[in-house]
Symmetry: D2
Subunit: 350 residues, 4 copies
């Protein structure tokens, strides 16, 4: 019963197979290998973006921070939600990589930034000339850190707001495949067609070993990114082993297949939870992440039985067995049906 | 004929096998997995260092820079040779990670730092109170960037010099296995027993896919390193896939077996080159790296035939076919005997 | 009619006289001069803090940022209000000097941080181990950026909250003299006796030419501060000209005399404004700063007559003459009675 | 007998007078004052550079570092001599302000960079693509840190070399007036006419209280510099007190008058020293700085009599009274003839 995060699951066997096949002979290092060239071509095709440039890194934090450092100057502020991974979960990585830019928190609805709020936040900055932070990039996450999803139109409304101030837009796509699988849209529609300038395209949470792609739709950013990646220790020498993972992902739609499996596991789990008295969902789950409230006693029973997930609000320790605590439950591509069944049975208390 | 670098070769099949075996079920992320615990225990055993702490990263630049940032303040200077990877090949990564520390270049002999020169360099710093850079860590590389080797005693002489000024010592061990294989010493002798405080233990150049271990012999450095690693985007979520590579390396001495293969391939290549008229070695190769001078015409013949290596000094283009250009030739564990034979035949011009 | 800021006024003549007297002969540079020694002794006496260390800088931003950089690591977050000068008016200087620390905004009441809100903000950080920002210093401003004042007890309640988490407390005292003059407390009571660890003691806004003192009550911070000051270009070579300003300030209570003049000018201005129909004060002014709302037509009349102040909310341009716009009015020590009278007459519209 | 540095002397009385006159009424802060406008106009006139932009800061380290940060990216290296103030005397300030750029040391002759050596140093960088530091600005000092002087032609030869690689050139002019006074050239000839892009124009060492001007001949750099200055805490609120110092300097050529006095004091001192047995000058002094070798006994006699200067090489303590130690002797504008006479008498030992 592993619902702690989608980064706890294994890599998909087809990824391991591709990696094993790639382990033949010598290959030029630092991205100058044939697999990387094939991957870049494939991404341009999948995203319908013939000019796009692609770089590989090993973590989402690296992808996000290096992109933001390329798009923002140190005296700017990045607009994001209070729930953004770049704000809450990167130990000040964006501040480090940008050389001291600030993050301005734009309140959202279930972690989704609202165009009006973004407009107000942008307007409130840069009113003091040289004294205040200057306006910088807008960064959104799809699916969000709360499992909610922006439609292409919703993204476009935000991007249009940014565009009015000439601000670039970054998409943290650590779980972008889950959004695309659910929205049934094209990769182009959820990125450049809805105003995105740069994407952190996640793979690790979706069945890879540890590989994320950075995509810039404007190739002018490429060389600066390359220098920043190198001096941050994120230029992989044996790049082929990163590229081949992402390439395997894009072969025959494996990335969306994995995402669909994760989404439907979460949907099944959510359906089951909703039928249990004492369990309430904070909001309707749209992809592979569920926030659910239920009594401490239920949490304790689940944990005792080995269920793994984060208690998001409240503490397992505590006197009142009826106090309601919030669980965050995340499904990865490999979650087994029997684990969901067992979890639901335990949650039901029967 | 792949002699461009030891990071162009494939991973050792036993590493791929171990990785495949590790790809089972769920594992807690960020280093909290069973394989990482096994690896840390194994490294403590192999290095006879029961207190040592171990962290995994994916590149040597990350290992070096994160260690230096942990050991140095932004107002210090790091003592290294002009040939050091941290100086020449990391696009100012140490300056970035340390928040602006300086590198003081200590002249060496064939890239080996000399205790007298180090002593003079340390003495020359910190003579101006608050105005000048303050003395910081000493960083050496073994085997060096020119393929030469420090004996444990030579390292100790440098570390003793540093110790007199209370300066910590970092060992860039991107190719440490090659040194140990050649010196036939213990890992402890070439690290903490000869005064080293922190090691970048390379794996990528020696048959892994992309995995380097950071070892601190004083565990007090661990938490700061952990925070720095996270905010630099170098904390791997699916850490097991890094740990298992290094663990496979240390099983049954695979790391030294790979290093020995690389060293002996280089030895064979060097022996052959020495017998060719017009070829001279810049210095006696001690591990898996050779610097050789021979005429442009020979270089052109080799390159035309597909040999891959860097022309270290001089340019392939040029009028005089007899001009002497320097080649850097590096052997990895997988270099084939027939490639060496073919290279030597071509070099001989017959 | 100069109410734009208290940094627009001249230096007090007694400061110029002291400066002129100090311009005799040679003096050792970088703070090693007799005047600096006298100043440090005087500050220790005035603040009843025999261990305190004192450093001079030329701007408040430098004082604040250098103190925060000394107290915070790059992976921490500084707790301050949304109105804090360090957040709104320093173009990311704290982020720059700390090497990328974050600022966590603690909502306040009229720019005064509340202990409960601080407690909640501290609790909300550092709940994600290595992933989130770590808890760092608390920074408050007295008088605040809205002209309100913390009593020693109010400061102590905040400092006690910080202390429970072992967090140091910084006081931005750009206008500390105005607070002391109004509270009629001792400098010790409003600083270390109420839990403050480090003070930016402003002088520039209070009748100096450009001189701020940094005071650490724990001398252990001194050397790191000194190194940070030097490498930030804030170590003055001819330090005597800074020290003598602050020393003149502390002679015969000139600093409090200047502050009292500024405060009472503001009090007179506020009293007058309150008697005018259509003018309302946002909150009762406690020192030398007033926030007042009145119709656009009045603003236009005042500006046309040469009054200088910032329109804080709203715009001078606009169609509706009755729309209410907020003015920020700041009095410095040199404001003339006749200017206040004239301003009030103009505001009254008669 | 004050020869420790030219920053130990007093400000020129005419500067104090101008400052006192400027202390009238209110003035807009942050450079938006009438005196600053007059100064900028005056500098454009004196330097025959109608497009130049001017900013004031309080220290040479701030001027140098802020200029370099504006001209260099964090992944570049700055070319300077080993004796450069930015390398030896700023506690890594350039590394801090640039966000981690490197300094490449170009060997010089008596601290003067040679075009050939610069050419070789530039060529040696950027040979490794993304891996090595990228080529950045060239920074020279005139007069140098050893008191030697570049002629306009010598500067131009260096700037031409830089220009071939599209690299900007920075002039650290902490003592530029001393060079102009000696060379009898125009300010334009020693700056933009000889290829300089940005100047740190020193005033503090030449009779001001603490004021340095930054001049960019290309105004495109101005806004970025302004943002960098602000976030480094170097934007002075009461800017008029800085501007008025520099303006007084440029009135009736006071800056050159002060420089001439300092130069001729040094010339007299040098002439006297040369006539003393046992005293040798390291090189012919060209401006206001002398490096002289004489026996420890003489040093001890001078110090006992109160002479202030730095022993540059060697230590006052030591057994052998005949050991030769090097003195650095610097004259400021206010050095008195009788002090020189007394120093020479003491040095002579009679």
């Amino acid at each position: 019963m592993f619902f702690a995060s989608d980064n706890t699951g294994p890599a998909h066997p087809r990824v391991i197979e591709a990696l094993t096949r790639a382990n033949e002979g010598h290959a030029m290092p630092y991205g100058d290998d044939a697999i990387m060239k094939a991957l870049a071509a494939r991404i341009r095709e999948v995203f319908e973006a013939p000019e796009a440039v692609v770089h590989m890194v090993t973590t989402g934090t690296a992808a996000n921070s290096l992109i933001l450092a390329t798009l923002a100057t140190p005296w700017q502020t990045v607009f994001c939600t209070p729930e953004a991974h770049i704000h809450e979960d990167e130990c000040n990585a964006p501040e480090f990589f940008t050389g001291g830019a600030k993050l301005t928190l734009v309140p959202g609805l279930n972690a989704k930034m609202q165009p009006d709020a973004l407009h107000r936040a942008i307007e409130a900055e840069e009113t003091r000339g040289v004294h205040g932070p200057q306006r910088g990039p807008v960064s959104i996450t799809n699916i969000t850190e709360r499992g909610t999803i922006y439609s292409p139109d919703e993204q476009k409304a935000l991007a249009d707001t940014a565009r009015r101030y000439d601000l670039p837009v970054h998409l943290d796509g650590a779980r972008l495949a889950n959004a695309i699988a659910r929205l049934n849209c094209t990769p182009a529609e959820i990125t450049w067609k809805s105003g995105i300038d740069a994407v952190s395209l996640g793979g690790t949470k979706n069945g890879l070993l540890g590989a994320e792609a950075v995509i810039f739709f404007d190739p002018a950013n490429s060389w600066e990114f390359e220098l920043r990646r190198k001096r941050a220790g994120h230029l992989p020498s044996k790049n082929r082993y990163l590229a081949v993972q992402m390439l395997a992902h894009l072969e025959n739609g494996l990335w969306l297949e994995c995402a669909r499996q994760a989404n439907s596991a979460a949907a099944r789990l959510a359906r089951g939870l909703k039928q249990i008295t004492d369990v309430s969902l904070l909001f309707e789950p749209e992809a592979n992440m569920i926030f659910a409230k239920f009594p401490r006693a239920t949490h304790q029973r689940l944990h005792a039985a080995g269920a793994q997930y984060y208690v998001w609000e409240g503490s397992l320790e505590g006197e009142d067995p009826q106090e309601m605590l919030t669980a965050r439950l995340v499904c990865d591509w490999s979650v087994r049906d029997e684990d969901i069944t067992r979890f639901l049975t335990l949650a039901q208390g029967s």
